[in-house]
């Protein structure tokens, strides 16, 4: 195990973790300890906004793991995010208790309103945090496992797989919109009061949730790094680049795909679970196919197959969205998003991080080549230099 960890931490990965840790610690400290008049104080609404970005970043990481490294383009990853969100939302609903509008100790408001006589069986257990937390991983994981088992075993790949992932999230969207499905229909789950006994609206809770989101992002990043730097990561890239060749080497491609797809869905679920208490609502809109496509755009913009790029892309694109959708340009946001995707595909096919690192490597390779030329004259081979 230790070799897995040391191998996964190169300089840029360690630098990235440092930045995330600094944000995760400094933002809550500044928010809680500095007086509101201080220019360095991060206001609470920004803490919640940044927290949302961090959750999106975890979702982007999960997409990069399967798309950037294994070539599985899921256009339905928002579904796993939303399922994780709903699992957390169900816990938060059960915490409301008698404080709801109808004051029913067991049934959430929407169930009283829709004349439910008792709690549906699948709502049992969600009053306990540990159970909800387990479901946050289990429900998206199980769906991904079943979906992936069928799709990968039948060797559904490429655009066909992308289309059925779209169909999956769309089907869930329609199901969750229905009132009799038991998840609040159109309105979803909202009016949350507290989480583990702490008021979700409180400044301290928001700061803590932000810190936990950063912690989750760091752990997810470390996990992804450990995977992509192991031999398993090399197999994933091999599958991405030449799937049938990998099969002829004796690798059971469908098991590898199933493993990363399921893991990625669990990560997306965690992202959704952290997202819901910070935005205060989860509704079927989260299943919208457009959401999943947007998440893929974040990864493309940041640079797929780089992990750091996925995080960067999620933060940059969402920050732009926040800025542009709140001003006079609001009605043009979707056009800008489309233009961004086209622009990145044409001009920066490797995304921000990919382009920058290519440029950087090109520069240092040029310098190295000069060194090597002189070294070879002295009888030193290129291989020994590279080692």
């Amino acid at each position: 195990m230790p070799h897995l960890l040391t191998r996964s931490l190169n300089r840029s990965a360690a630098g990235f973790l440092l930045v995330v840790a600094a944000c995760g610690i400094l933002v809550p400290i500044s928010n809680l300890l500095l007086p509101e008049t201080s220019p360095l104080q991060v206001p609470t609404y920004l803490v919640a906004l940044f927290g949302k970005y961090v959750c999106y970043a975890i979702l982007a990481l999960s997409i990069d793991l399967i798309w950037g490294y294994c070539g599985i383009l899921s256009l339905g990853h928002g579904a796993f995010f939303a399922l994780g969100g709903y699992a957390m939302g169900m816990y938060l609903m059960r915490q409301i208790g008698t404080r709801g509008v109808y004051g029913n100790p067991i049934l959430p408001d929407f169930m009283v309103f829709l004349n439910y006589s008792k709690l549906p069986w699948y709502w049992h257990g969600f009053d306990m945090f540990w159970f909800a937390a387990l479901m946050v991983l289990l429900v998206p994981g199980l769906l991904a496992f079943c979906f992936g088992w069928l799709a990968f075993r039948s060797r559904v790949t490429g655009v066909y797989l992308s289309i059925i992932t779209q169909a999956m999230t769309y089907a869930l969207l329609l199901a969750f919109f229905r009132n009799d499905f038991g998840f609040g229909g159109n309105n979803g789950l909202t009016d949350f009061k507290d989480i583990l006994g702490f008021n979700v609206q409180a400044q301290g809770t928001r700061a803590t949730l932000f810190f936990l989101s950063c912690l989750a992002l760091s752990l997810a990043f470390l996990l992804c790094r450990a995977i992509v730097t192991s031999k398993l990561g090399k197999v994933l890239i091999a599958i991405r680049d030449a799937e049938s060749r990998t099969r002829f080497l004796g690798y059971r491609v469908e098991s590898y795909k199933l493993f990363v797809f399921t893991l990625s869905a669990c990560m997306a679920g965690v992202a959704g679970a952290l997202y819901v208490p910070q935005v205060g609502i989860i509704n079927p809109g989260e299943f919208a196919p457009a959401n999943s496509i947007e998440a893929v755009i974040w990864v493309a913009v940041g640079g797929r197959g780089t992990l750091i790029g996925a995080v960067l892309g999620a933060v940059v694109v969402n920050y732009a969205k926040t800025v542009f959708t709140s001003g006079a340009l609001a009605s043009y946001w979707l056009f800008m998003l489309g233009a961004l995707f086209v622009g990145v595909t044409l001009l920066l096919p490797k995304g921000i991080v990919g382009t920058v690192s290519d440029w950087w490597q090109g520069r240092s390779a040029g310098a190295e080549a000069n060194v090597r030329d002189t070294a070879e004259e002295d009888g030193v081979t290129g291989t020994s230099l590279a080692e």
């Binding site: 070799h3 031999k231 060749r245 059971r252």
Partner: protein, 253 residues
Amino acid sequence: MSMLDMRTTSAMLYLDGVHVSFDGFHAINGLSLTIAPGEMRAIIGPNGAGKTTMMDIITGKTRPDKGDVLFDGTVDLTRLDEAEIAELGIGRKFQKPTVFESQTVEDNLLLALKTDHRVSKTLLWHESPDESAQIDRVLKTIRLANSRNRLAGALSHGQKQWLEIGMLLAQDPKLLLVDEPVAGMTDVETHQTAELLKEINREKTVVVVEHDMTFVRELGVRVTCLHEGSVLAEGSIDQVSANERVIEVYLGR
């Protein structure tokens, strides 16, 4: 017939009465072929003779409509998939060189190493001294020791072909299927490849599919000529190339 029956039990690869058709086109039509352990065999034949389809059948990519395909005298290959057949010890080099272009030469060999290929074992895998020695050995055999850390995509066409042969060696198979190894190679590279295959043949059974007659002649092994999905002639290169029917199918009717 009795001679054939005797061979059945000891053959490394045994195909008998194999048929495959795609939408009514008989790609393989009653193909029977036996390869003895330790043998090197060259398969020739005009375009569409079924050479690549034969490889596909042996490696589990295509299922025959009927016929027997036995490996090592006992294993029925028609019931297994690609990964299972690769695990059994049949390695395949493709017509078009397919190496993992975005990974280094060393990583390409590392991926090919004969190890436990299950997900959990692959995640926790780390290189043992034996394995790194084996990689060094293969790198030397395929003359790429100085390119260990180069990306496979940056290799020349001939070097990619060798790397792919190296990946076969790292798999440590009992039987190597090599599809057109010298296509697009220079004369020098072709000669070196023939030497390389002869070297490999000292330990392993090899089946080579090739168009290049100079190369086949240089290998100096038994030749099987396929035509329209079945065996047209078999023997030494001189016998086969003197065969009138072979001349006919190559030069046209």
